[in-house]
Symmetry: C2
Subunit: 457 residues, 2 copies
């Protein structure tokens, strides 16, 4: 038994990890929060960065700033590559610059999830997903570049391919993203091009199941689909993606397959827990589900390992209805606070780790998703609404949940502005190769002349 | 003689190119503005993005949005790789996706400049400069990562190397950037780390000349230097950089040389005009100066090529005092408007290109530079001031010059917030390899344990 201050190590600074760390502020423990990013990200608004409505800093806050005054907490910017269960330590590695490990007495694993391509990881480069700031700015670049390339292309079928957008997966992220793309094409960019009409863009939402927003009430799903269709989105249900390449996707519909040409395909079809879940399972014998989540006990520990908690998207935790809890921010936050209380209670009771009799229960206060400008669906415990009222509720809840006051003000100003003008100020093409791969080349002189006005004058 | 609408092609959407394009709104010409970025950038505030005080979108506005209502203008997102003077066309090439050319009747070349390493281009990877949004977010990442690596390093001299920052060049950009770094170390990050004290960071400003802000009055230079020193910056004058590598720089001071260890070196020591200037000179016989600028006639054309104007950082244009005009935004803007008026006047007079008798004159309304929180120097035609009043003037002028109203509001809110709290909300480490190069590795298990509390308990 150890009498010194207990070392609580938290892997991941998302909703689960951050809320666990903050809740431990008054517990007699040393908290180390490890994340590969230096910021906590408000993921529910990430699609607004991908669409150029908000800037990354509006929805991200530096973890060090958030935990600055919590003197029992430290932040480590590091990549966790393994967990050594027997040795009770977390193994880190970063670009060859540093390697090392961090010992723990109690571990909270909250490393989240990435998108899942159901065994087709090679699709990722053609159909990126949306989980990080860099994902969002990459998607923003792809959307905006598609219109730019369409403007420069002289060929009709080439132009049509550039003006075809596909979002795979009609969960909340897919619905929100596809709604934004439709808004960009039909409103934001109107009048900004001379050779193409952005309104002629084809925007597809592909879903393998039989309705959009499957986690919501069927009536809300139907209203959401009608809203999307009014916005110009083609919704294809019962359509399973069987191939993705540089020029589009192949979908299976019933017994037939069809090809949809597109150079801007985005993936919101599934998530896969952090590979750390598998590493934990290998060492503890715990079960892993289809999404790579590790099965946890009712108190969110791993069976026979009361010193390891797993929370958030990584945990397969059964709800009162017998179904696993969804991968949502409120679940992770409540679990974070639960394990923090659990750790504090153990210290208070005996000063040593022991199995708890408590059980985590998720309090569902409702879920909401936006569809477009002034349109949303909200499914609250006693109420199901859609339309402008749901949208206002959505706006209010998300604004109030942003961790930093400054961001609430800035986001409100930007939303108000974007609502009135339909403009998106953060429509920047940045990063990667902004058309930058090419050196002055002699053969360029032999190539075609793309100035349309030459012929028309 | 051509009777159809004259085709004016503008290379570059910076201050010169954008102002030329807008000024041509009512002229009977077709305007094509070509830029490799999709946004106009307010470069004078770029250092605020590098320091995490502002977001990229606060100081950048999509060019298409800015020229949307100007129906005689179109925007092309493309990289100009050459200008074919004899064939009167601009040659484009982009990542293998597109190649082509654009014909012109009149050409305005406003492609700006990049940093110059005086023949040592290999220094760039160790000492990046600040010209684009991507430069700024890369510098932001380097500054913030240095503190993170220092926090994780257990070795005293390694920590000291990470906490050493160097800015080379004491012009306005260098002075502004070094002031921001000092603020970050001494105020913004205070209390956020547990193993290091950010206030112990060494911040150096290296200048080959004998004073900072050499373009200003010597009295203002002295006040600026004193301000910087009070902020904790070590100013080294008469110090010429002779080597730069991964671990620091070598400077020559008088007859001796000394080494300063640093892993965060930033370059603000000189600029070099776009290589298009050299291509133009080769074909027209015009002269190129030491900074790669092309010598222009009093009307900003190239001698014997009245159809080609060169403006902004690319143009060597002599002022009334016989010295070349400085590479400043107001010079480029005035030149942009001048050439637009010139082009419109030619059309009005004769409907064909002919040499002009007009001469460009720069109206110097003053220059200003900030040093830190509430500190600035301003050199106006009849007045030289420093201190809080100069800072307020600086703030007002820069705020009012931002092209989009939304950005004025957002930037004002963020400045006010940052001023009161000394916080910088946009302190995000994004892009490139956020510690991401490493896969789970067996040898990681053999490496050192970096958790300090293990020993101290």
């Amino acid at each position: 038994m150890q009498t010194s201050t207990e070392r609580v190590v938290i892997v991941g600074g998302g909703f689960g990890g951050l809320h666990a760390a903050r809740r431990l502020a008054r517990a007699p423990v040393d908290v180390t929060l490890i994340d590969v990013h230096n910021h906590h990200l408000f993921q529910p608004l990430l699609y607004q960065v991908a669409s150029g409505a908000l800037s990354p800093a509006n929805i991200a806050a530096p973890l060090r700033g958030l935990l600055k005054r919590q003197l029992n907490a430290r932040v480590l910017l590091a990549r966790v590559v393994d967990i050594d269960v027997a040795g009770r330590r977390v193994v880190l590695a970063d670009g060859g610059l540093h390697q090392g490990s961090v010992d723990y007495d109690v571990l909270i694993v909250a490393a989240g999830s990435r998108h899942s391509y159901f065994g087709h990881d090679d699709w990722e480069k053609f159909a990126p997903g949306l989980k990080t700031i860099d994902d969002a700015t990459a998607i923003r670049r792809r959307i905006l570049e598609a219109f730019e390339f369409a403007e420069r292309s002289g060929d009709a079928s080439d132009t049509a391919a550039w003006l075809s957008f596909i979002v795979v997966g009609a969960g909340p992220t897919g619905v929100e993203l596809v709604g934004q793309i439709a808004e960009i094409a039909h409103h934001t960019l109107r009048g900004e091009f001379r050779s193409i009409d952005p309104q002629r863009a084809q925007v597809h939402l592909i879903e393998a199941g039989d309705r959009v927003l499957a986690a919501y009430d069927p009536a809300l799903s139907e209203r959401a689909q009608r809203s999307l269709e009014r916005m110009g989105v083609t919704v294809l249900l019962g359509s399973q993606v069987v191939a993705v390449d540089r020029d589009g996707i192949m979908v299976k519909q019933g017994s037939g397959t069809r090809r949809i040409a597109s150079r801007a395909v985005f993936w919101a079809a599934g998530i896969q827990a952090s590979p750390l879940a598998r590493r934990l399972a290998e060492q503890t014998g715990a079960e892993i589900d289809r999404s790579g989540r590790i099965t946890v006990e009712p108190d969110l520990t791993i069976r026979a390992h009361s010193d390891i908690f797993v929370i958030g998207d990584m945990a397969h935790c059964t709800g009162d209805d017998g179904k696993p809890l969804p991968a949502l921010a409120p679940v992770a936050m409540q679990q974070g606070r639960f394990v923090a209380d659990e750790i504090a209670a153990r210290r208070a009771n005996a000063g040593q780790a022991q199995p708890s009799a408590r059980k985590f229960t998720y309090h569902d206060r409702g879920t909401m998703a936006t569809i477009g400008r002034g349109r949303a669906v909200a499914q609250l415990p006693w109420l199901k609404i859609s339309g402008p009222l749901a949208w206002l509720a959505w706006l209010f809840v998300h604004l109030m949940t942003l961790v930093q006051f400054q961001n609430r003000v800035l986001v409100l100003v930007q939303w108000a502005w974007a609502y009135v003008t339909r403009n998106r100020a953060a429509r920047l093409i940045t990063g990667d190769r902004p058309l930058a791969d090419v050196e002055p080349a002699a053969q360029a002189l032999e190539s075609t002349n793309i100035h349309r006005t030459t012929e028309s004058n």
